[in-house]
Amino acid sequence: MKVLQIAINDLRLFMVNRGNLVGLLAIPVGMTIILGIFIPSGRPSRIRVDLIDHDAGEVSAQFLQSLRQANSSIVLCPLDNDPEDFCQMEGDSTLGTEQALERVREGDSLALIEIPPGFSEQVRAFEPVRIRYVSLESFSAPSFIRQAVEAALTRVNGAVIASRIGAAVLPGSIVDEGYPQRVYTRAAELWEESPASVDFVLSAGEAPDPSSAPDLGGFGQSVPGMGSMFALFTVLGGMGILVGEKKQWTLQRLATMPITRAQLLGGKILSRFSLGTLQYGVVFAIGVVTGINFGRDLVALVLVILTFTLTCTALSFALGGFLKNEQQAAGVTNLLGLTLAPLGGAWWPLELVPPFMRVVGHVSPVAWAMDSYTSLMFRNGELQDVLVPLLVLAGMSAALFGFGIKRFRYEL
């Protein structure tokens, strides 16, 4: 009961300050919209897919061509590497299987396609043959890369089938040596005219008509990114409020009243946590208005929001004890907000940064939250796909709370 009263009083103190409302509403909404409009599409336009082609035959070349057409954002590494080393080969010209598997595990490439030796021969001979496809995405989640691979394979198979049918039904007199080859070529050309293309779909909902509607794809990045950043800011801002309460002695006064330490801390934690989720709500409301894809597991999404906000709250308690005045608190809030957010991928997707920075970025809780949003909102994943980041965030929260609560003092 007192926990709730303390929390409500804190929220009232926050709301009576006009400046806080600007910080909660105007700035986050403005930033989210600006970023959403100026990032034309929230995801990188190119996707790294590792390729090991043991065959290097005609059919495999055909297959790869189909794959490129099926999804133009796929860059086959190292085959289609560019001068800027998009593939991050760092000087190597070939990939070993072990190395490629490692890259997939690390998230450096999104998938590995391995074509077995003799692939072309076997396809021609209609013998069963398998392409190895490895990716970290869970199999329950629809994968645009797997879809592209399947589409490309269908086309190769279709062309082979057509050539075999041609060879089988026509009288031997007409069928000369080069005939199946011509049928195959023709069939491949026919496929070409109506390619079974799988586009990289940004939202599971209706794709916006690019001619009439503005491109709102950027909101898919800006909403979770700015939501996380401003939730972090708002919650960390509580550190300054607590310092102020020590300065104006209201916290000390509370300490002389019949309230347990747990009640007081509970109230403070609850008020900050509520403000953080409220902040998320404000930014995510823009996502609702612009119609971004929230994925198919809304429970998991809410869980990510709550867990990340909890981590921010814990962080603010762990640091709050060291602060002596409001200026320090504001400085630390800005410093942390403006480093943890971009480091964790709140400003641009972490797929765009070098692998080293991606690893370093994961010291920021924002990175784990953004990983979760990517899984849920871009890859249409579900709870099981975000269990690891959720556990990491929960672990961070527990450690930070433990430290912060132990260090909590009423006086400055």
Binding site: Q5, I6, R12, W249, T250, L254, T256, T260
Partner: protein
């Protein structure tokens, strides 16, 4: 006589960031009786606030304990805290809320609810004379009004015991008068026990049933005013202001030897004195049995020594004299 507060060996040692230690309160033994006004009198930095903070459960004692109505503040803090109303030295209010909102919130923290709460808020508002301004933000209040509201919060739950830590600091004489009258009213009309701290001798003198004198974290004298004054005997205290002229110990020695009735002389130089107290003028402090009679002789000696006296004050025996007698320093603000 029933006791409301008993402290035993109450001690607080602060550790400064540089690692050094400050003994703010050293083994304080106090007993405050039910229904009395007990003053803790001492200069700034003497340890008054630290003592009250430990007794009210804000600071954990380094050593010792305080019993409030029989409940240990460290072992049964909730029971003890329910008996206490605290009026902190700093104004402890939410400036962005109005007077009524402040009272209502703090009232809830004392488990007041519903009609009980609103009734008490009305009573307190009228008691501190802020009924008309209850809807105004505390931000807009004068220093005196804030002080009164600060007192009001401490009275909300009709506590048996009120701790008031220098409640008159920095306010106009009218508001000060009002608060002093309030304190007496609380004892006389509501039977409350009051622990009142101050560095002002006059306040302690006007209010207290009993006084504890605290200096450098130690209670150096304790009793009724009559008891304490008797300790220094019937001596008057003479205070000579000398500005920044140098006074050597030879002069003091001379006065002590040559003027009949003088029992004690000391020199309190200008600049920081006591803890954070600053005198603008150096003072020669003299205790003498018939003070007025000794005056001409003393002036003659100072004249000869070339020390120009800027002002003279003769004080009958009072708490100030007790403090001087015990510490050799003046109790000033």
């Amino acid at each position: 006589m029933q006791s409301m507060v008993v402290t035993h060996d109450l001690t607080k040692t602060f550790r400064r960031p540089d690692g050094s230690e400050v003994q703010a309160v050293k083994g304080v033994e106090l007993e405050i009786h039910k229904g009395e006004i007990f003053s803790l009198l001492g200069p700034n930095g003497a340890g008054k606030t630290t003592t009250i903070s430990m007794m009210s459960g804000l600071l954990e004692p380094t050593q010792g304990d305080a019993l409030i109505g029989g409940h240990s503040i460290s072992k049964q803090p909730l029971q003890a805290k329910r008996l206490i109303g605290v009026v902190p030295q700093d104004i402890a209010l939410y400036p962005s809320l109005n007077a009524r909102q402040n009272l209502e919130f703090f009232g809830k923290m004392y488990d007041l609810r519903g009609n009980d709460l609103s009734g008490r808020v009305e009573e307190v508002l009228s008691f501190i004379g802020l009924t008309d301004r209850q809807k105004d933000k505390v931000d807009t209040f004068s220093g005196g009004m804030k002080r009164r509201l600060n007192v009001g919060v401490g009275l909300l739950h009709r506590p048996e015991l009120v701790f008031m830590d220098e409640p008159t600091v920095g306010i106009d004489p009218q508001s000060r008068r009002r608060i002093l009258d309030t304190v007496k009213q609380l004892r006389d009309e509501q039977g409350m026990t009051v622990l009142y701290t101050t560095h002002l001798m006059e306040e302690a003198q006007e209010l207290s049933d009993r006084v504890g004198i605290i200096d450098h974290g130690e209670v150096i004298a304790l009793g009724t005013q009559g008891d304490l004054i008797q300790q220094v005997g019937e001596e008057d205290q003479l205070v000579f202001a000398v500005g920044d002229q140098a006074v050597d110990s030879g002069l003091l020695q001379q006065i002590r030897d040559q003027v009949p009735g003088v029992t004690r002389t000391s020199y309190d130089p200008p600049g920081p004195g006591g803890e954070s107290v600053t005198n603008t003028s150096g003072l020669i402090l003299i205790q003498a049995k018939r003070g007025r009679k000794a005056l001409p002789d003393i002036l003659q000696i100072t004249n000869r020594a070339g020390v120009e006296i800027q002002s003279v004050e003769v004080r009958e025996p009072d708490l100030e004299a007790v403090f001087l007698n015990l510490t050799g320093r003046a109790l000033r603000d």
